[in-house]
């Protein structure tokens, strides 16, 4: 059977913990990974806070789901984009974000970090170039 591969873009614009959006988005990404589609994640506005390093929720009685982002490379997610201006206006740089490694089990191809900081024009292009956009 020939499978139709679509380009899926998950657009994340909410901070973690304050609302359920970030967690729900992650759940959908993980579920969607089972369908062998081309999956890209994009973090814009407060969504960039989802990827901050060193999250420790022991004091607030909520599950810390940030380690899950680091496993996305194992779920067929090949590209993760973060909007540069969103980071900068929040006093953040790429050094504040987790690194997400990726490895192709078949070819053995590896990437140390698939998190890429991109400009607004790239965000536009990503949206235009995707078949489906899931917005959270």
């Amino acid at each position: 059977m020939t499978e139709i591969v679509k380009k899926f873009l998950y657009l994340n614009r909410k901070a973690p913990y304050g609302t359920i959006y970030a967690w729900e988005s992650l759940e959908v990404v993980l579920i969607g990974a089972a369908f062998d589609q081309e999956v890209r994640l994009l973090f814009v506005d407060d969504g960039v806070y989802q990827l901050t390093k060193g999250q420790d929720t022991s004091g607030i009685g909520m599950k810390n789901f940030s380690p899950t982002y680091r496993t996305l490379g194992d779920y067929e997610v090949k590209s993760i984009y973060v909007h540069r201006e969103s980071l900068e206006s929040r006093g953040l740089t790429q050094d504040d974000l987790v690194q997400i490694a990726w490895e192709d089990w078949e070819s053995g191809e590896e990437k140390e970090n698939i998190v890429e900081v991109v400009d607004a024009a790239d965000v536009t292009e990503l949206m235009e170039g995707s078949d489906v956009i899931f917005s959270f």
Partner: protein
């Protein structure tokens, strides 16, 4: 009559902090918690607003919410006091009223 103002929304998503700072009386206390804590981080586009507020108001941030979001105490704008849950309770008890900017 002293008021404790609480803000739990990100300053980049809602105008809760902006309204709070506009209407809080001189000498009032403002506690930032949940997504409101993003306002206390140094180097953000909200820093000027927060620093200006420090001249007239006592600003507090809930430490556990800051830690949950990956920010250490060193990232917090000088002059903002970090409190724990017991400190939150003390603030609520010390003030006559609590105004929550939802």
């Amino acid at each position: 009559m002293s008021i404790l103002h609480t803000v739990n929304k990100s300053p980049f998503e809602r105008n809760a902090l902006e309204s709070c700072l506009r209407f809080a009386a001189k000498g009032a206390s403002v506690l930032l918690f949940e997504d409101g804590v993003y306002a206390v981080v140094k180097g953000t586009s909200a820093e000027g607003q927060v620093k200006a507020a420090l001249e007239d108001l006592d600003v507090y941030v809930l430490g556990p919410d800051l830690k949950a979001r990956g920010f250490s105490e060193g990232r917090v704008i000088e002059g903002i006091k970090i409190v724990d849950y017991a400190g939150f309770v003390d603030l609520a008890a010390e003030n006559d009223k609590v105004q929550a900017w939802l």
